[in-house]
């Protein structure tokens, strides 16, 4: 039987959650035994080459590219997991949500003292900024949530093993944290 296929991505996140995936230490060798990675920064596969069983996404959606990416994942993955605070509730990037996007753009590109060319980037190649940062589940259906900033490596490990093997999920108190 072929191994389950996993894909991962970081949208409007800091890659901290991915660092935490690596933080499962030597268990990563077991993980490689258990699964095959497809599109993911872990193996640098840029495009989906097949349907996947599990998609793990870090970061929320702050621009149109994030949205596109997320929808791609939903299309290609049977199960989609929101990994970390940004994916679940927008996280730090969502601190702009109370501020109108016009003000954000002005502050970042026009009024900021460290900016030379005072222009709001407008090249068509650039992703379009959303009015606010969206948690993933406000855009596509999400099957599981793993909170934390970053989620503890043990939480990621336990959740993946439970999902892959059908083993009962065992979460000690210390592993579910929002910071």
């Amino acid at each position: 039987m072929s191994k389950p296929v996993v894909a991962t991505a970081s949208l409007a996140g800091c890659f901290g959650c991915h660092m935490s995936i690596l933080d499962i230490d030597d268990r990563i060798l077991q993980l490689i035994e258990l699964v095959e990675f497809n599109k993911s920064p872990v193996d640098d596969i840029k495009k989906f080459t097949k349907q996947c069983d599990i998609g793990i996404i870090e970061g929320g959606c702050c621009n149109s590219e994030n949205v596109e990416n997320l929808k791609e994942f939903r299309k290609h993955c049977k199960i989609l997991i929101s990994l970390g605070e940004c994916a679940i509730m927008g996280g730090l990037p969502a601190m702009r949500n109370g501020i109108p996007v016009e003000e954000c753009l002005k502050e970042a590109y026009l009024d900021c003292p460290t900016v030379d060319d005072k222009i709001i980037p407008n090249d068509d190649e650039l992703p379009m900024i959303l009015d606010r940062v969206y948690p993933l589940h406000e855009i596509v259906k999400i099957d599981y949530y793993l909170p934390g900033c970053p989620p503890r490596a043990d939480l990621i490990w336990e959740a993946l093993v439970a999902l892959l093997t059908g083993k009962e999920l065992n979460l000690p108190y210390e592993v579910v944290k929002f910071d």
């Binding site: 730090l92 969502a94 601190m95 909170p147 900033c149 944290k177 910071d179």
Partner: protein, 232 residues
């Protein structure tokens, strides 16, 4: 007539004194009922409703309901526990709770209840309200993004002659805590610390200090809220 009162919580025989609330008596009997707006020594508010228990089939806030002989209290039942969890989730979506950025993280009672109830993500959509931070008080600031309107500061932080330093203004979902600028300016360091301690979340924070306790050693890093009462 004796002041002793006997009653049961989830079948456990409990005793208490006349005048005690269900929350107070339960605590003395080693039974944890989750609370958030309750603070020992303050007049109960019944604001958060997380302590809702069922007494004789009716839902009552355990923090405001006095014990009486032979009452049958249901506390740890799945239906109530889910609704309590829903209250925690409502609080998370009606504010802007960015735990990773909050100084109270690890010592926050709301967050601790989120842990206790294994809230992986709130069932309700985030409301993304626009809230103002008030930094005009010399010794502390009010971050209304985090305020859960438990009214603990309103009830517990007063001047010597009993005037409220903090209080709620507006109504409904627009309700917010504000301070009397003159009275707040007169707060001592001790009072500012007291205000910060009385606040269950990170809405009242002392200025010029922060993040003193390292991650891992904070109040709710290792053990769930309520374990000090249940003894586990």
């Amino acid at each position: 007539m004796s002041d002793k009162i006997t009653f049961t919580i989830d079948g456990k025989e409990c005793t208490g004194k006349k005048g005690q609330t269900i929350v107070e008596a339960a605590k003395e009997n080693g039974v944890y009922i989750p609370v958030l707006c309750h603070y020992d020594g303050l007049k109960p508010a019944g604001a958060c409703r997380i302590c809702t228990v069922r007494v004789g089939g009716r839902n009552m806030a355990a923090c405001t309901t006095p014990i009486a002989n032979d009452i049958v209290v249901q506390n740890n039942i799945p239906e109530l526990e889910d609704m309590r969890k829903a209250i925690v989730e409502m609080l998370f979506v009606e504010g802007n709770h960015m735990c990773p950025t909050c100084e109270k993280s690890g010592n926050c009672e709301l967050q601790a209840l989120g842990y206790r109830y294994l809230m992986m993500a709130p069932r309700f959509p985030y409301l993304w309200p626009t809230k103002q931070v008030d930094a005009s008080i010399p010794k502390l600031y009010i971050d209304r993004n985090r305020c859960i309107l438990c009214l603990r500061c309103h009830r517990g932080v007063t001047t010597k002659d009993g005037k409220h330093i903090f209080g709620p203004v507006k109504r409904g979902d627009r309700t917010m805590i504000t301070a009397d600028p003159e009275l707040a300016a007169g707060m001592t360091d001790k009072q500012a610390q007291q205000a910060m301690d009385i606040c269950p979340v990170g809405a009242l924070l002392k200025k010029e200090v922060g993040f003193v306790v390292p991650v891992g050693k904070r109040k709710y890093d290792q053990k769930p809220i309520g374990s000090e009462i249940q003894g586990n």
